[in-house]
Structures are given as structure tokens and as C-alpha cells.
């Protein structure tokens, strides 16, 4: 059954970027995304406040390898220098390949 391989790209970054990031992701061809509110710590320190400026989101995009690469490299160019952000990609299998 699980014959369709796809990628899931996970992005963890500042809440302030939510709107622009999701626009980028759609523009680069993803058919959907899922967002949750998270907190965390990384190279730019603890980000764990009740507070927008200091809160994180976690965005998940299921898509094919090319789209994942396109999004990831675009976000890298755009945001890595100045924002708290990490990305990682993993292999997944999906049921309806035409959807992703």
C-alpha cells in the first residue's frame, strides 16, 4: 500500500515569519502545510515566551523531493542569516500521491 515516496520538510522558526514563510512555501509549489506553536532553544538562544516576538512555530510540508529542495534552499537564502531557523527533511510514504 505504501508505495508513494515523498518528503516531509520540517521548519522551526520565529512566529514573526509565519505569514511571509507560508506565502513562500505556497509560491514554491507545496500543496499544503501544517503549522503548530512551539518553543525551543538553538543558536539564537531560548525562544519560549508567551510573546510573539520570542515565540516559535513549527511548519511541516509534505511534498516531492524537488519541491522540498526548492523550499529549503529558498528559505536558506532568505532567512538563515538573520533569523532563528532550522530545517530538516525526512522520507515518508503517502497514500494519495497526486495530492503532494
Amino acid at each position: 500500500m505504501w508505495t508513494h515516496k515523498r518528503k516531509v520538510l520540517t521548519i522551526i522558526t520565529e512566529s514573526a515569519l509565519e505569514r511571509v514563510l507560508l506565502e513562500d512555501i505556497e509560491r514554491l509549489g507545496a500543496h499544503g502545510y501544517t503549522v503548530s506553536d512551539v518553543r525551543g532553544k538553538g543558536h539564537r538562544g531560548v525562544r519560549t515566551s508567551a510573546w510573539d516576538t520570542n515565540a516559535n512555530i513549527r511548519v511541516e510540508v509534505v511534498c516531492d523531493a524537488e519541491t522540498a529542495a526548492a523550499i529549503a534552499s529558498r528559505l536558506k537564502d532568505q532567512y538563515y542569516e538573520n533569523y532563528a531557523i532550522i530545517q530538516y527533511i525526512a522520507d515518508v510514504e503517502v497514500l494519495r500521491p497526486e495530492r503532494f
Binding site: 515566551s49 508567551a50 542569516e81
Partner: protein, 322 residues
């Protein structure tokens, strides 16, 4: 203060701030959920707007216009003065100097709320349209900050910045409250007073508890960025208060109004400006400006500044007039 004697003269809302500060520094488990923070700040912003709006209808626009223009001028002036100090005395990078300057040119709604509470408990009158000036003052410094960071030459995404600024939560709620209060008038607003006016100080107390926790979290940033930031975080509001007092006198404000304007000038934004700078001047380090605005200037204004600015306004009024 009513019949019974209190231990001190401190407003209890300040004590909530100190409680949050202490809890934060002791690394207590205390933490307001973000939904609660959102609710509380939403009620405060609407309440401030409503209060101002109710009074606004009574003012002729011809009376308000010069004040609005003057205050816009002050909002441009303050960051222009702060920028070279930060850049040359402080040795900050261009983007950081511009961003910090923008924070100090704009205003802090929490500081304004504490000032109005402090004045109310002392029955000091001030002009009722102050919330309008508060809204007006939020914005010019942001524009100047972006220009100082990027220069006129480089293309600034003005549309994005504009929507970020004008459609940010804070401005929408303040302006929305103003308009509602203005349209509904005092009679119309009566039915929602129990939530927005009677609970105001209690909700402000909860807000300041959280502010104490947030301030404590930004003390760490201070240690890293050093003495200059602390000095700036105290010196700049003192200087801005002088400018604010001068503007208040020029505009013929009452003692209370002058003191409020001085407080607005002295206060540093930590909501609207950080959000706008994060998008428009991303290379500026937000930890720097927040450490100064929250770690130094907010507690300074709230604990020391407000009474000082009021004394200053009284003194100048006594000197200069009747």
C-alpha cells in the same frame, strides 16, 4: 488612598511588576500562557482606545490637529537624536543603532497605562485625548528607523512595512477602541464599562506581573551587551522626557498632560516596533533593543520615571506660568 493606612505609597500594580520580576529572577515556574497574555493585552488596548474615543467627540478637530502634527514631529525627532549616539558613542552597527533608536522614538502602551493609573490614584487631571497622541506616536519612529537602517537608496518594501505597522494587533485594537468610543459616546459605552473600565487596573496588574517575568528574562541580555546599553536605557528616557515636556509646554497642555507626553516620549516600544523591525530590518539583533527597552527603560520609567516626569511638569509649569 482611602481611610486605612498602607505600609507604603507604592501603587499595587507596581508591586505586581516586582513580583513578576522576582519570580522571573528566581526562575520560578510561574509563566502566563500566551493566550492569557493575548487576552489581557487585548482588553487593555481596547480600554485605552475606548477611554480616549469617548472624550474625542468633545474635542474640535481644529484643536487636535496641531497637537497631532507636533507629536508626529517629536516621533521623527527622537530617533534622529538617538541614532548618532548609539552609532558613535555606543559603537553599534548601523542596523542595530537604527532599530534601537526606533524603539525609543516610539511608545510603550504599558508605561502609558501605568502612568494613567498613577495619575488617577492621585487625582491628577490630564487631557482626555492622550490615547490619540499615543497612537500617533507609535508610527513615525518606525519609518525613520527603517530609513536610517536602509538609507533612501535601497528599496524598502513599504507596502509590507505599512501593513505590518498599521494592521498589527496593537494599532488595530487601539484605533478600533478609539473609533468605537468616539462613535458610541459615553452613554453607549456605559454597558461595557464593567469589563473595560472597572477591571482595568486589575487586568493591568496581571499584565505587569507578566511584564516582570519578561523583564527578568531580558536581564540576561543586558549582562552580555554591557554598560553602555544600561546607561542609554536610563539616559535616553530622561532626555526624551525633557523634549516631551517642552512639546507639552509649547502645545499648552495641562500639568498632567505635559507629564503624560513626557512619559510617552520617555517610554520605549517593545511590541509594535520589534515586530516591524524584525520584518523590515532583520539584520538588527532584537535581543539588544529588547534588553534596553524591557530590561532597563520599562522598569526605570515605571519605578522612577513617572513621578519624576510629573515633578518636572509641575515645576516647569510653575516657573513658566501663573
Amino acid at each position: 488612598m482611602t481611610e486605612e493606612k498602607a505600609l507604603t505609597d507604592i501603587d499595587p500594580i507596581i508591586l505586581f511588576f516586582l513580583l513578576g520580576l522576582a519570580a522571573g529572577l528566581l526562575r520560578s515556574e510561574l509563566r502566563l500562557p500566551s493566550a492569557v497574555y493575548d487576552l489581557i493585552s487585548m482588553v487593555l488596548l481596547l480600554a485605552i482606545g475606548l477611554k480616549g474615543g469617548v472624550e474625542l467627540a468633545q474635542q474640535p478637530f481644529g484643536y487636535l490637529l496641531p497637537q497631532i502634527l507636533a507629536v508626529i514631529g517629536m516621533g521623527f525627532l527622537l530617533p534622529l537624536i538617538a541614532f548618532p549616539v548609539l552609532r558613535h558613542l555606543g559603537g553599534f552597527r548601523r542596523a542595530d543603532a537604527a532599530s534601537i533608536a526606533a524603539h525609543y522614538g516610539s511608545v510603550s502602551v504599558a508605561t502609558y497605562a501605568v502612568a494613567t493609573a498613577w495619575f488617577a490614584s492621585r487625582e491628577i487631571e490630564f487631557e482626555a485625548h492622550m490615547p490619540l497622541l499615543l497612537v500617533v506616536l507609535e508610527i513615525p519612529a518606525i519609518l525613520i528607523g527603517i530609513l536610517m537602517a536602509r538609507g533612501l537608496s535601497r528599496d524598502v518594501p513599504l507596502a509590507t512595512v505599512g501593513r505590518e505597522v498599521f494592521l498589527g494587533k496593537g494599532i488595530v485594537l487601539l484605533v478600533g477602541g478609539l473609533l468605537i468610543g468616539w462613535v458610541a459616546g459615553p452613554g453607549g459605552v456605559a454597558s461595557i464599562e464593567p469589563l473595560f473600565f472597572d477591571l482595568f487596573k486589575g487586568i493591568l496588574a496581571l499584565f505587569l506581573l507578566e511584564m516582570g517575568l519578561i523583564t527578568a528574562a531580558h536581564f540576561g541580555g543586558l549582562r552580555r551587551y554591557g554598560v553602555f546599553l544600561v546607561l542609554f536605557g536610563i539616559g535616553m528616557p530622561l532626555f526624551s522626557a525633557l523634549i516631551g515636556t517642552a512639546f507639552g509646554l509649547l502645545l499648552g497642555l495641562s500639568v498632567g498632560g505635559t507629564a503624560i507626553l513626557a512619559t510617552l516620549a520617555a517610554s520605549a516600544s517593545y511590541i509594535a516596533v520589534p515586530a516591524a523591525m524584525r520584518i523590515s530590518v532583520p539584520e538588527a539583533n532584537p535581543a539588544l533593543s529588547l534588553a534596553a527597552a524591557l530590561g532597563v527603560t520599562f522598569p526605570f520609567n515605571v519605578l522612577v520615571g513617572i513621578p519624576l516626569y510629573h515633578a518636572l511638569a509641575s515645576w516647569t509649569h510653575r516657573i513658566l506660568g501663573g
